[in-house]
């Protein structure tokens, strides 16, 4: 029996008995989302690249394929996953990454995980094996389900195969550092982003604004002259450590919050330590302030706060939805998983 049909049988049986299933790749992201129980369904052995023709700029792989394997296959052809996903562990899988919609420092300038998802095959909560989207760049036939599944934390369907758009690795990459405070950093990187410069990351910590430029030699060199500052040595290691949350900033017992706001928003009146990534659009906060305060301050700024690591994993880790949106989410959950067996409660208690 194929992997898919075995999985379908398993899901159908679970739906009949109402048995909760906990979907896993290699379990590197168990820290994320709400704590849930359920029988483990492992995708770890469902791995391998299915199709990759570099000139198509598309790669298809099974959900259990390790991210590191995928990236090394791409790198051999000078291509990359342009959303620069965090791994959070050597064994991280493609399926887990897409289910969590993790996007790294390049995100504001190149696009998010969902922007690169072209298609996905999945098993729904009723045990149907379904294919949405495909291997082409442009496809508007039917609702865009594969992007909708991106970031749904396995609560709608079990991803089995994923088709992604990939991009060439830039010819040159240089990181500049400028000494400045938070307000100046926000002003600077958002002013730069209104100009046609080859920006590929911008982050601020410890009084330093770090700006990464990626592109052709000529364009990057002229941008270096334009922006100024000092060239950072060993920049690749820095951006990897930022992406993987391995910088000293993250080594802290307090809960880690992800604050998402409009990039040019002023610094929020929150206690704790803040690191700005995504040119100000993603702010990491280490803080012991009450959940309610952090959520209220972020919401007042038009953003949303995620309890990314630590804290109470049984409470709401994602910003609560308005009642209208929550009931729509519940109806969508019902449409994919009427028995409520796929990662129940992982995203919101009600889903």
């Amino acid at each position: 029996m194929s992997f898919e049909s075995t999985l379908q049988e398993r899901v159908k049986a679970a739906a009949e008995t109402g048995t909760a299933l906990s979907i896993q790749g290699n379990n590197t992201k168990s820290f994320y989302g709400r704590t849930t129980g359920g029988e483990t369904v492992s995708l770890a052995d469902h791995r391998g690249v299915l199709d990759y023709t570099p000139s198509e700029l598309v790669i298809s792989a099974r959900a259990g394929t390790r991210l590191s394997e995928l990236e090394s296959v791409l790198q051999q052809e000078d291509q990359m996953l342009a959303f620069e996903p965090a791994h959070f562990g050597e064994a991280a899988t493609l399926g887990g990454t897409i289910a969590c919609a993790f996007s790294g420092p390049r995100r504001p300038y190149a696009g998010a995980a969902r922007d690169f998802v072209l298609g996905a095959n999945c098993v729904s909560g009723t045990g149907e094996w379904l294919r949405f989207g495909g291997q082409v760049m442009k496809n508007v036939a039917g609702y865009d389900v594969s992007r909708t599944l991106t970031g749904s934390l396995g609560t709608l369907a079990i991803l089995t195969d994923i088709h992604l758009r990939v991009l060439p690795i830039a010819e040159t990459e240089v990181t500049l550092q400028l000494d400045c405070d938070t307000a100046t950093a926000l002003q600077t990187c958002n002013a730069l982003a209104t100009r046609p410069l080859p920006l590929s990351a911008a982050c601020h910590l410890d009084g330093r604004l770090l700006i990464r430029l990626s592109g052709m030699q000529e364009g990057v060199q002229s941008a270096i002259k334009d922006i100024g500052g000092d060239v950072l040595d060993d920049a690749t290691a820095f951006w990897t450590q930022l992406r993987e949350q391995q910088l000293p900033f993250f080594a802290d017992e307090r809960p880690l919050w992800r604050i998402a706001v409009a990039p040019a928003s002023a610094a929020l009146p929150l206690e704790g330590d803040t690191l700005l990534d995504w040119g100000g659009a993603q702010r990491w906060l280490k803080s012991d302030q009450p959940v309610e305060t952090i959520r209220a301050v972020t919401a007042a700024a038009g953003g949303h706060a995620t309890l990314f690591r630590g804290g109470d994993r049984g409470a709401d880790v994602f910003q609560p939805l308005t009642s209208g949106l929550l009931s729509l989410h519940q109806r969508l959950k019902q449409a994919f998983d009427p028995a409520g067996i796929l990662n129940p409660g992982r995203m919101y208690r009600e889903l």
């Binding site: 922007d115 760049m137 496809n139 508007v140 389900v145 993603q282 209208g324 949106l325």
Partner: protein, 484 residues
């Protein structure tokens, strides 16, 4: 409920000028850009305010009357085709740009704003809105979101779904929902992705936050001529393989070049079997370097001639032919039918030669002008609707081209949408379980099926009937259904 009840209710609730009922008033709304399909709606409602849109939807929900939303009516798949027993809801009066936020690179706009006017309004800040469907002078941004519109530059800058950040929508019950927000992502499911391209079946869009990009310092076009379509196709693959993502990469075949040249004199090489238009944009330094590389790549791929636009006027002239291709066909033939399949680029050569073969089989000429960089084909079938049976044969040929696209791993529509036009081919692309999942999604938003019913997603019965006519590869589609 009788028609009279909903009409009375609308007239009672809304100002008289917002409700059109006389046949001569309804006539302009009988079709969208796909004029082969026409239907007068029961009534046209053109609200001035959000509250009036809400009232209209609530009354439709209460009276169980279907609603078809319409922007500028430029869609090419019949998505805004009215229903005889339904309300045609025009969002044309929602035509204001509400706010431009330069530092956050976003603009809040109403759905009736035209695509091009957004770029025009923000040009003063050195910004623009990237998706540029060829109808951008007329098409509305609300319609762009409903169709997930593309354009010439999506190879580098993506479709509508990549270039919007938030929506305000109304459900069929008139409930207002905010989808997305001012941050780059939102908590919960990616409803922005789900609504973009949902063709008016899930909700009514009342406001859009679009992303703005810095205008490139410069754009230049390389025009390369090839002595075969295959060689031009190989040129497309070679450019992408060289690590360059052009802003646009378009192909015109010989019939298209000839038609364009007769229409406006662009100076396209007449001895070419195909030409590629490759636009590169960015900083002057980058563009110069990329042109050098592209020239080399095309030479290696066997280009017989290459020209690089020397200034903006020449760049515009190179594009003028591409942009005039459809009207040029209109001069050659009484009618033409534009298809919109997308295929993996590696099958370009095979698919184009198959299209040529089918064109001969049906005795209907086909020109190819398309977005070669992303494999989005636009075969134009030339026909004469006044000849008995020719439209039907054209539709059949078009359907077979789309089925060919699906067979090589592509899709029946890259950017024009399914609407009513391609609803039968949806049965080829998706199986019953997948279609049922689509219907379940629709029901989560619109349980009584009142928003644009009958479009985009076929019923399983419709597929069974269509399958009875088209047996593919000896396999009966949807075998689980009873046949009548």
């Amino acid at each position: 409920m009788s028609d009279k009840n909903i009409l009375d209710a609308l007239l009672q609730q809304l100002p008289g000028h917002c409700v059109l009922t006389r046949p001569e008033e309804l006539r302009p709304y009988e079709c969208d850009g796909l004029s082969a399909y026409r239907q007068l709606p029961m009534v046209v409602v053109i609200p001035d305010t959000l509250e009036q849109v809400q009232d209209t939807l609530r009354l439709c929900a209460e009276h169980a009357v279907p609603v078809v939303a319409r922007g500028s009516g430029t869609g090419l798949s019949g998505g805004a085709l009215p229903l005889e027993n339904g309300v045609l809801l025009s969002m044309a009066k929602f035509n204001r740009i509400l706010d431009v936020d330069v530092h956050n690179r976003v603009a809040r706009v109403q759905p009736g704003v035209t695509n091009l006017s957004i770029s025009n309004a923000v040009a003063v800040h050195g910004l623009y809105y990237a998706p540029d469907p060829s109808s951008q002078i007329a098409c509305s941004i609300g319609g762009n979101v409903a169709e997930n519109a593309g354009g010439v530059h999506c190879l580098k800058y993506g479709l509508t779904t990549h270039n919007i950040q938030a929506l305000e929508v109304l459900t069929i019950d008139g409930e207002q929902l905010t989808i997305g927000g001012s941050a780059l992502d939102a908590p919960g499911y990616d409803l922005l992705a789900l609504l973009t391209g949902s063709e008016g079946l899930l909700a009514i869009i009342t406001e859009i936050t679009v992303k703005l990009l810095p205008s490139p310092e410069i754009a230049q076009v390389v025009m390369a001529a090839f002595d075969s379509v295959d060689a031009a196709g190989a040129g497309v693959t070679a450019v992408i393989a060289s690590g360059i993502i052009p802003a646009g990469l378009e192909l015109l075949d010989k019939p298209a070049i000839d038609a364009v040249e007769k229409f406006i004199h662009t100076g396209y090489p007449q001895d070419a079997a195909a030409i590629l238009l490759c636009e590169l944009d960015g900083t002057q330094a980058d563009v110069t370097a990329q042109i050098k590389r592209v020239n080399q790549v095309f030479r290696d791929a066997g280009a017989i001639d290459q020209q690089v636009s020397r200034d903006e006027a020449e760049r515009q002239r190179f594009w003028a032919g591409r942009k005039a291709a459809f009207p040029a066909m209109g001069r050659l033939s009484p009618d033409y039918y534009c298809m919109d399949g997308t295929i993996p680029r590696k099958h370009l050569s095979h698919v184009l030669s198959e299209i040529g073969r089918m064109s001969a089989e049906y005795g209907l000429p086909i020109c190819n002008v398309f977005h070669a960089g992303d494999g989005n084909l636009h075969p134009l079938i030339l026909y004469d609707a006044n000849k008995a049976g020719e439209l039907e044969r054209t539709e059949e040929l078009g359907g077979r081209i789309l089925e060919l696209c699906v067979a090589v791993g592509g899709t029946i529509t890259g950017e024009h949408g399914v609407g009513l036009e391609k609803i039968n081919q949806m049965c080829v692309q998706y199986n019953s379980a997948e279609l049922q999942q689509f219907h379940a999604i629709k029901a989560a938003f619109d349980s009584n099926g009142l928003l644009n019913p009958g479009k985009a997603i076929p019923t399983l019965n419709r597929c069974a009937e269509f399958g009875a006519m088209h047996v593919h590869h000896g396999e009966l589609a949807h075998p689980e259904l009873e046949r009548f």
